[in-house]
Subunit: 343 residues, 2 copies
Amino acid sequence: MQVKDVGEFGLIRRWERELAQDPEQVAQGIGDDAAVLDFPGGRQILATTDTLVESVHFDLAFTSPRQLGKKCMAVNLSDIAAMGGRARYALIALGLPGSTELAWLEDLYRGLQEEASRWSTWIVGGDTVRSPSGLVITVTVLGQVPQGRAVPRSGARPGDLVVVTGDLGGSAAGLASLTRSPSPVEPGVLEYVRRRQLEPIPRLAEGEIMAHHGASAMIDVSDGLASEVNHLARLSRVRVVVEEESIPMAPATRTLARVLEADALAWALNGGEDYELVSTVAPEQFAAMARAVRERTGTCLTVVGRVEAGAGCYLMKEGKRRRLEPTSYDHFLTTSGPSRTSP
Amino acid sequence: MQVKDVGEFGLIRRWERELAQDPEQVAQGIGDDAAVLDFPGGRQILATTDTLVESVHFDLAFTSPRQLGKKCMAVNLSDIAAMGGRARYALIALGLPGSTELAWLEDLYRGLQEEASRWSTWIVGGDTVRSPSGLVITVTVLGQVPQGRAVPRSGARPGDLVVVTGDLGGSAAGLASLTRSPSPVEPGVLEYVRRRQLEPIPRLAEGEIMAHHGASAMIDVSDGLASEVNHLARLSRVRVVVEEESIPMAPATRTLARVLEADALAWALNGGEDYELVSTVAPEQFAAMARAVRERTGTCLTVVGRVEAGAGCYLMKEGKRRRLEPTSYDHFLTTSGPSRTSP
């Protein structure tokens, strides 16, 4: 049996079983957005790593090196955000073809540096090696969180509301706009969705505020809302019900879906790479949380559903519920067609 | 200008300049074996990352997946050892072709896990992605060190002795034995050198003891003794003089050099991947350091040279000194011939 027969999530589950965890030393390990590590001294350290591979995760025809650097950093920072933590340090491992232009590489560094600095994160180390075919970028980010305050995926409780920051589907819309050249649309539409795809913003400030205001579980939207709520439901041993009509989508996303005759809802549910936060919170804590996030970051929180006793995820529309399956893209299982996450 | 025109070390120096460091937050950053990070609470955290790329750093014809996993972990643990630290946690980022056999992958995991466990290090996270062509393995290891006790590359002082753990050149001998099929040698010779190449042992216990016994500077031998002492001399702003006849080499390494008509000294100086520690220490502290290392780990420390005021590195033989240049292999600058670090 080969890797492509089980896919990424199958691999991760195998890995979880394979790797013995020491509950005394690792507060949370594989399977959450970031690992929560105890070191002597009180605060807990968060650690996360993500790899982006050329022609799997990005296409150099669409992204500038500066954008690529920013995005590689942002997707890792987003994992720290999803724990309610503060990012501190980053390490970069670069696999480069020998033919990489130095000017291009310096723009990549600049993007990595720019995004890190924006979030008061210091690049403190790395490894640069030759890669015979194509660029491979692995970023590891370390963060911190007050002792016992990391927000896991497993804390959702029946009765909680399900909330998301910002809007969903924009990143997939941006990818579609790059690969399918839409007919002319009003100014700003392409700029908005392409920025969502090429320069995602990690919700670090929002995550910290939400953690402070009672977020019981949290995850970032890397694979799509459907996949993320299924993670929350499985790990929290609860049911999640999402109201289809509550899912926040930007006007630009809806416009582009219309022009391309595409399904904006599918982008929001399964497109992924929005790097918004999905969180659960007790209803009585929601108003204060939303107000604090709004006042301090300008970002809207939207209630998209609720947590119930039970299992699995459901999508409600006009009073009818249907199963919401995690049909997100798996790089191993899909080998034809344009890559979802390119550029 | 392209990456292959400047090579890995040129890139790292550019990167050092490019990336602003915050001296308040980063005790030591890029350019040492591991970054030393301040977090609230007293202890400092060490962080290091290394990437191994198929057909650049290893050849699957020579290494078993278990050995490869062990080595990927070991080379990162070695960077923690070179700071005098204790390893605690590891993150693994794997880029895999879809055709990777699951049984093979599980052996790779097993090797990673086995080596980590041996050093009380817990694998706490990772990322598994598709790589269109060949395996890419990035390991990040986090360790700890008492506040202010990390041993930098920059601390060597005139008058210090230069010491190394174990023996040198064995790893390059092992690689030569795999690529050049030597004529029959006595039992144990091939086993010894191939184990040095395929299953290097990080000197974690030795590094911690040496740090405790006054190591003023330390580095691990990844690129060869010549390269490592040049790093120490440059960063400590001193001269290092190495006595050629003091360089410790195992009998098996010398035997193989004779059989293959190869130069054992060149293996020791420029072969690399021995993952021994090179350290500097005041002469009056050496005896106690060597005794403690010997008693608690069984490993010999050998004095190979001394630190002088001045700059550059020299190799002494029969009273004559010649410049010792860092002629180590650079993956970017050399593109033909078998890879030095394969398998």
